[in-house]
């Protein structure tokens, strides 16, 4: 995931796993139920792993506490362990094969100085965040064993800690000098906040995926796309990413937490006649493989997606537009994630190179008074769906907490990790990262809700859209339905803009003509202006489950929102590729094996 764009501007990207509001059906087919497979997560007893980590932590801390100019005042080890698997097929054939897949990643968080000012402080002049210290077992020259405890693990902890310690001393000196020769910083809040001891060691689970059965199923599902010879590429995949995180720190905390993710991903792309690349996807995300939909439901989703893509190929191209629009629940969720969510992550309100959109806006109106926004990583489900951003403890060992960020339009809080921001003196459990990265404040489950008085049925919202379009002398308003993701720029050197990539957009005509699907429209704009123009909400919420890439790596997130009517939104045309349709026809059309039908699948 991009950390910095080519121009050096920090951007944020969210890409989706999708989710509809309809509850994901539980498995009906007995064959779908979990059975033993060759890819079970090999679990080393958690106490043994934690004990090895803790003993090496204590040994290092005892010696390093007083070894250099700046004392080590905090040390934490995070060890991520997973057995990830992916089954992907296209046109009825497996794309590759991989087994094994055990991996571990170790991160060392070592801090010198004191909590007010330490080596992780933003280094002005070099424009740099604190470096990461990690080992990944899959690298040829890594000595991190991908299982087990004891000496091999200790040796890796030792050498990585030594590296981190030396870099911390060097960086701390640079930071100290910077403070002496540079102007005072805007925000003088602490670099770190302490926590009481947390001990969280639930029994570890092993979930089994019937790999052979799912391989056959994914193959069959991918074959359904052969009915659409005009598509250029298509894929059906099942990824399983069970991950266990072991954490110990010098405060005495010992935390183990598991995160399970099983995802079916359906994707297809095609070229429109004018060369525009069109791509649609759909996905299902569950926490246990036994909850994955049965094959017949998945086949329906494949067919539906293929049908939508065919329609999109034939749809007219969007033109640039400014006017009223309805964002469906999922689109609105991504809209809030980009425009608002990233700007309340404390790191973007503190660092000297950040735009600090909301830095001094606590207690002021930042959106219409009928909206309230919370971020709640403790929520497991929302709107009947599993929420992807759920966890019990964040990556800094702080218990997850629900945080109200905006109450009735007024900004009330930021999302905080252990690094503080002006006006706040404790983490609220949002210090998150991808394995191997340094945690920063990140969104988890962002939940937007509207006052009852401003909630309207879909039909009423539609009528309001038409009314607004007439008022603005437009012949149509827009309805953004499916959405793929978005991005936003928050650095002080960039324009404070955001972009949302819709998959399906409709023109809703004021004269009562049927809605018209259009292709190639992207929402662009600036966040503060956009938030103020939300005028009404729908009465049904939807979930967008996805992965968000930022300075601490891709992390699972979700956003929940009702559909929103926005008085004025700006769209631009998607960049077009210069590809031309293939010269020869699809050679497999007449020769393909009979395509599996939903009926035939049901019979199985």
């Amino acid at each position: 995931m991009k950390k910095f764009s080519a121009t050096g501007i920090l951007i944020s990207l969210i890409s989706g796993l999708s989710a509809t509001c309809a509850p994901v059906p539980a498995a009906e087919d007995p064959a779908v139920k979990s059975t033993v497979s060759e890819n079970a997560l090999a679990i080393t007893p958690a106490p043994a792993v934690l004990s090895t980590m803790d003993s090496e932590l204590q040994r290092s801390l005892a010696r390093l506490k007083s070894a250099g100019k700046a004392p080590v005042y905090y040390l934490a080890y995070r060890l991520y362990e997973g057995n990830w698997d992916s089954i992907a097929a296209s046109n009825g054939a497996l794309l590759d094969y991989h087994s094994g897949g055990n991996w571990r990643m170790l991160s060392v968080d070592l801090r010198v100085g004191n909590r007010h000012f330490d080596n992780t402080h933003f280094l002005r002049g070099k424009n740099s965040a604190s470096p990461t210290f990690w080992e990944k077992s899959s690298k040829l020259e890594s000595i991190l064993p991908d299982g087990g405890t004891g000496l091999p693990l200790e040796q890796c902890l030792w050498i990585t800690t030594d590296e981190a310690y030396k870099a911390a001393q060097q960086r701390y000196s640079e930071l100290t000098v910077n403070n002496e020769v540079m102007s005072a910083e805007d925000d003088k809040s602490d670099d770190f906040s302490f926590q009481p001891v947390h001990n969280y060691q639930p029994a570890l689970k092993t979930l089994h995926l019937d790999r052979a059965e799912w391989t056959a199923r994914v193959r069959r599902l991918s074959q359904l796309f052969l009915k659409h010879p005009g598509f250029q590429s298509s894929k059906v995949s099942l990824t399983s990413e069970p991950t266990t995180r072991y954490m110990v720190n010098s405060e005495g905390s010992k935390i183990v937490e598991q995160h399970f993710s099983y995802r079916i991903f359906i994707q297809a792309s095609a070229l429109a006649k004018d060369g525009m690349q069109l791509s649609l996807w759909d996905s299902v995300n569950v926490l246990d493989p036994s909850l994955l939909p049965d094959e017949a439901s998945l086949a329906k989703r494949v067919d539906k997606l293929a049908e939508s893509l065919e329609q999109l190929r034939a749809a007219p191209v969007a033109e640039a537009f400014v006017g009223p629009a309805i964002l469906s629940g999922k689109a609105a969720a991504v809209f809030f994630h980009e425009t608002f969510g990233h700007r309340v992550e404390a790191v973007h309100e503190k660092s000297e190179n950040e735009g600090k959109t909301f830095a001094r806006k606590i207690g002021t109106n930042v959106m219409p008074a009928f909206l309230t926004v919370t971020d709640d990583p403790t929520a497991v489900k929302g709107c009947g769906e599993f929420l992807n951003g759920h966890y019990a403890y964040d990556d800094e060992g702080v218990p997850a907490q629900p945080v109200t960020i905006a109450k009735k339009g007024v900004l009330t809080s930021f999302l905080l990790g252990r690094t503080l921001v002006r006006g706040f003196n404790a983490s609220n459990g949002h210090g998150r990262c991808s394995p191997g990265w340094n945690p920063v404040a990140r969104q988890a489950n962002l939940i937007v809700s509207a006052d009852k008085s401003k909630q309207f049925s879909t039909q009423a919202l539609r009528a309001m859209l038409i009314k607004e379009a007439i008022k603005q002398h437009k012949s149509y308003g827009l309805l953004f339905d499916e959405i793929t993701g978005g991005l936003t720029y928050t650095s002080s050197h960039s324009d404070q803009t955001y972009l949302v990539h819709p998959l399906k957009v409709y023109k809703v005509f004021v004269d009562g003509r049927p809605d018209q699907l259009i292709r190639g429209a992207e929402i662009v704009g600036t966040p503060l202006a956009a938030l103020e123009r939300v005028v009404a909400a729908g009465n049904v919420s939807a979930v967008f489950n996805g992965t968000c890439g930022r300075e601490s790596g891709p992390v699972p997130v979700s956003a929940v929102s009702p559909s929103l009517l926005i008085q004025s939104i700006e769209t631009k045309r998607t960049a077009r590729s210069s590809e031309k349709q293939p010269i020869l026809s699809d050679p497999t059309v007449s020769r393909a094996e009979p395509v599996a039908t939903i009926e035939s699948v049901k019979k199985r």
Binding site: L94, D96, H98, L144, P145, L151, E154, Q155, I583, T588
Partner: protein, 584 residues
Amino acid sequence: MTERTLSFLIRAALAGSLLLPMSSMGLAALAAQPEGEHAARENTKDVVLAALTDEMDRSMKELKIDEHPPAYFISYTVKEIDEASYSSCLGAPSTFDHSRERIFTPIVRVGNYDLDSSYPLSNRPVTSFLLPVDDNYAAVRRNVWLNTDREYKYSVRVLEWKKAYLSTNNVVDRLPDMTHERPLVSLNPLSSLKVDEKKWSEQIQELSALFKKYPTLQKSKVTFIARTVNRWLVNSEGTRVRDSRNQYAVRIWATAQAKDGMPFEDCEMVASPDQSKLPDLDRLKQIVEGLAQRLTDLRIAAKGEEYCGPVLFEGQAAAELFSQLMAPNFSFAEEYMGTEDFTNPLKNRLGRKVMSKQLSVVDDPYAEDVNQGPLIGNYKIDDDGMPAQRVDLVQNGLLKAFCQSRIPTRHCAQSNGHSKGGHGVYSILSLSSSKTSSPDEILTSLKDMGKEAGLDYVLVISRINQDYQMQEYPSSENLNKRPYSTPSHSIQPSDPLVVYKLYLADGRRELVRGLQFNYVSMRTFRDVQAVGDDSKPYVIEPVDCDTRTLITPSYVVGEVELTPTTPEHSTPPILISPLEALKQ
């Protein structure tokens, strides 16, 4: 056809291969009709071959855009890479990994043999794509269709670019773009990866645990890699190749730091196409302990000083120096339009002296070793579908030939079976001398040279840093990396790792550390004064290139300059390692 090629063919035939160069066997008609009875029979059994040939035939007949010409040549290569590995550190349970993937490399040429759409290598490396691993005709064929379409459109653009370039630039004496060659049919059975999982999982764990005896080392790892590569290669001239190769390797790697912080890293790899020819467990243990002891000794060795004088290169160091400085210059004698990113320094020196008079170099892609049998990096048919040929590159110090693919050079209009990714690249090189000396004689002449130079000691280098990885190119992780590296005028060899001072007065050997070469070049090989009688095969791995073998004896170079390495490096760890703590 040369005598050598014929002898090779006979050898191959005796080995049971189905290698059949069409015209030499009077079967030209078959080559011209790949869709004939024979081909069809083969295709029914082989889905990949069928999908490739069917789409190739259709594209040759029908693929055409507007007034642009159709392709005159298409070639498809599919590589199926099946790979398993085990690794372990300090006796931890072995990590297992197994993957299988197929890499598809289509080449579509528009124009004709004289002027076509092929382009100098650097601008756009041949592009490779992932192909499904299932034997599913529709899925494979669809992928081949779409990628052929993409390549054809690209080729049409390149050909027009080339024509425009030629009409506006003074390109003198341009060579044709591709040689005319006879097609080849060689359909061999595919093989599947066979690994004794229990044996290797246990042995790797056992080997890595040996490092526990060397507590001052910092990192260590032992890895076993097994790989089977099945290949399909078809072209529109009628070539049909299906073959398979195996690679097995054990990689041993460790690091250490001297008390002043100077870092060391050593890596050793044993590799063979035949699993049974890998060293047995006892021998592997010796190799592990040898490496561990070397690093342990280096930690406390004295620092080397500036030196200019004779140097004996022995063992791995002799192979590495030749591999890094000289070997790449036997490749890429090709001519390119426009600005070249590199120039082969030997390109215009054919027939002239490039090495000491006593030295000769042979490239034999299918060289065998008396003890080891077939060597890693061997092949019978190159990446262009040409039979591998033994080539005398240097005879008595004079440059005689280059390794060539189907790209013609000024020296030879035909391929000599050395294509790697379409370019002429060396394979298994063998360095030999017309005059060899026993180890004692070598030492005597080394010392004599030292005395003449007024030195107290001379240097013996027995290891040069190398990080063997045994990667496969291209692969899914390296789709755009090719299996070759280009020659260079200015490349410097990596630092010597194991260097001994050999004192002239008493013949004592003293290990020294921290030396680097000071501006050496391929001219070093004009100054080879004595050559040992200890020729042996060594595994080499040129930068970003696939693993192969080099057969070298030890040799004495008359004058080599070495200087101390930069003194800047991290200090040693503050805390002793857990392993060291355990021993105390």
